[in-house]
């Protein structure tokens, strides 16, 4: 007598017919004991693993601060001397413009400029 079941039905009937595998009592007991034998780490209000972690982090931050501070100081010195050079250059260019405007050096104009400048 031929079987008119589809392949899916045949596989389903066949595999459902397999006897289930029962876990042993030992396994059931061992699995039930897992939460006791492997307690989950409770969340602590202290966010660091140990006292050394924040101390190390603090020391690192201080070292970084000192390094950055020193580098910034060097930059400031360079910036100040650069600004002074720029100021001299701009004063010279003003003088050049005055020469062009008045057709020669005018010490009076210099005096007037220095008076107007706060």
């Amino acid at each position: 007598m031929s079987d008119h079941r589809t392949d899916a039905e045949f596989a389903g009937d066949t595999l459902r017919g397999l006897s289930p595998v029962e876990p042993s009592m030992g396994l059931v007991r061992r699995v039930a004991q897992l939460p006791i034998e492997h307690p989950r780490k409770a969340s602590s209000p202290w966010p660091f693993q140990s006292l050394w972690m924040p101390l190390l982090a603090g020391a690192f931050a201080a070292a970084l601060g000192v390094t950055t501070g020193l580098m910034t100081l060097e930059d400031d010195t360079q910036t100040t001397s650069g600004a002074a050079q720029e100021a001299t250059a701009s004063e010279e260019s003003v003088d050049d413009l005055l020469v062009l405007a008045w057709g020669g050096d005018s010490p009076e104009w210099d005096e007037q400029l220095s008076l107007e400048t706060p």
Binding site: D3, T6, D7, G12, V31, L34, R40
Partner: protein, 174 residues
């Protein structure tokens, strides 16, 4: 799972009592060894307890547990085969003279079915077990096996045909 992630041991016991049998059965079908199946099942539930906080609620808990069990079982099979295991269907071939149909005549039906399953390429066997014994849907099987749904459908189709050929070789296929 949220309760388990917060350390609720009672919730964990409820989970294990609902799924332990299915996981042991799946591992046993893949490995054919009760002791190894139990060892893996224990590891599955240990991981479920320890990693409950990484569980994504997009998947059913049973799918997640089967995924862990599947990966552990594959590792065990690989160790057995000296570090390599051919999961693909390349070794798909006609049953040999030592085929499970002959075993079926000599042994009990359940043993014959198990032998027929063992004769299938591993992925076909896994897909059939997950679909018909464990009751997972195709997208869930795809997640466990790490494949696309279409690949799972193809595996199931070929696996069912092959199982039928092996167990009822004289019968006209549907």
């Amino acid at each position: 799972m949220k309760r388990i992630a917060s350390g609720d041991a009672r919730a964990f016991r409820e989970l294990s009592s609902s799924h332990l049998k299915a996981i042991v059965t799946y591992c046993f079908r893949l490995l054919g060894n009760h002791a190894e199946a139990e060892e893996i099942a224990q590891e599955v539930f240990l991981r479920a307890w320890q990693k409950a906080d990484v569980y994504q609620p997009t998947a059913r808990v049973s799918t997640w547990l089967h995924s862990i069990a599947h990966n552990l079982a594959i590792d065990t099979l690989r160790k057995r085969h000296g570090g390599t295991l051919e999961l693909d269907d390349e070794r798909d071939q006609a049953p040999t003279s030592n085929n499970p149909a002959q075993l079926l005549q000599r042994k009990a039906v359940a043993q014959g079915v198990q032998a027929a399953l063992d004769a299938l390429p591993p992925r076909q066997k896994m897909a059939l077990l997950l679909a018909h014994e464990q009751g997972l849907k195709n997208p869930e099987i795809a997640e466990v096996l790490g494949l696309g749904v279409e690949a799972v459908e193809s595996l199931l189709s070929r696996g069912r045909k092959r199982l039928r050929q092996v167990l009822a070789p004289t019968e006209e296929p549907s």
